[in-house]
Symmetry: C2
Subunit: 104 residues, 2 copies
DNA sequence: CTGAAATTCCGATATTCCTCGAAATATCGG
DNA sequence: CCGATATTTCGAGGAATATCGGAATTTCAG
């Protein structure tokens, strides 16, 4: 994962509304949530929610799947793990890591 | 750590320039880096760097310490660990965690 | 086809962000 | 105090964001 990718994901998460959306999706588990179900929990206008969701989808943090008229949204754990990994490796390193982790 | 706190930190990191600044600071290790030394590595105008640094300091991700005329900047590992922790607990939980982690 | 439900697209507005150069401020050495 | 160095503050331009309401689109049921 490049620095720009990581920054894009962090930015996507770096908005209270969006972080809340994402967290809600995580808590919903594998079943996911429809956009309207999501809206009932996070509030706000549907168009706004849709907008935020797109941002999350764009960076790969959320996956959408159509089921008839409803669109199911799910958290993409892999991407989040990748992000946490990046943060841990690149940005949590103490001196020990700073010497070796340079290659990454 | 509240959702808003986490979002603020994520937002601070969610800018390529700032993420680069932070990462550079982490790699510098405990010794830290002065603002101008930092500038030599990340480029850009000093005023811009100062601005970004303030943002990082504001959310606690970076600590500054005066040494004469120079200001030493250091990454605050604790805060970053706290953030990664939050992400892991609140946003990486699979169903197993989603049931129990609700209290947090 | 028609009606209903779910979601996105289309403007619009207010706010915030990123970046810069220049001026101001702080600290030190002498 | 003076000069030099380091950093921040000020002011500004331009771009991007967050939010909204309503219209348009898609998909299903009958």
């Amino acid at each position: 994962m490049t620095l720009d990718d990581a920054a894009a994901r962090l930015e996507a998460l770096g908005n209270p509304t969006r972080l809340n959306i994402y967290r809600t999706l995580v808590r919903a588990g594998e079943g996911g949530l429809s956009v309207s179900a999501l809206r009932e929990r996070v509030g706000g206008a549907l168009s706004t929610l849709s907008h935020h969701l797109q941002k999350l989808v764009l960076v790969g943090l959320v996956i959408q799947e159509r089921q008839g008229t409803t669109l199911i949204c799910r958290a993409n754990y892999d991407q989040m793990h990748g992000l946490v990994d990046y943060l841990t490796k690149e940005c949590c390193a103490d001196e020990t890591d700073a010497r070796q982790g340079d290659a990454a």
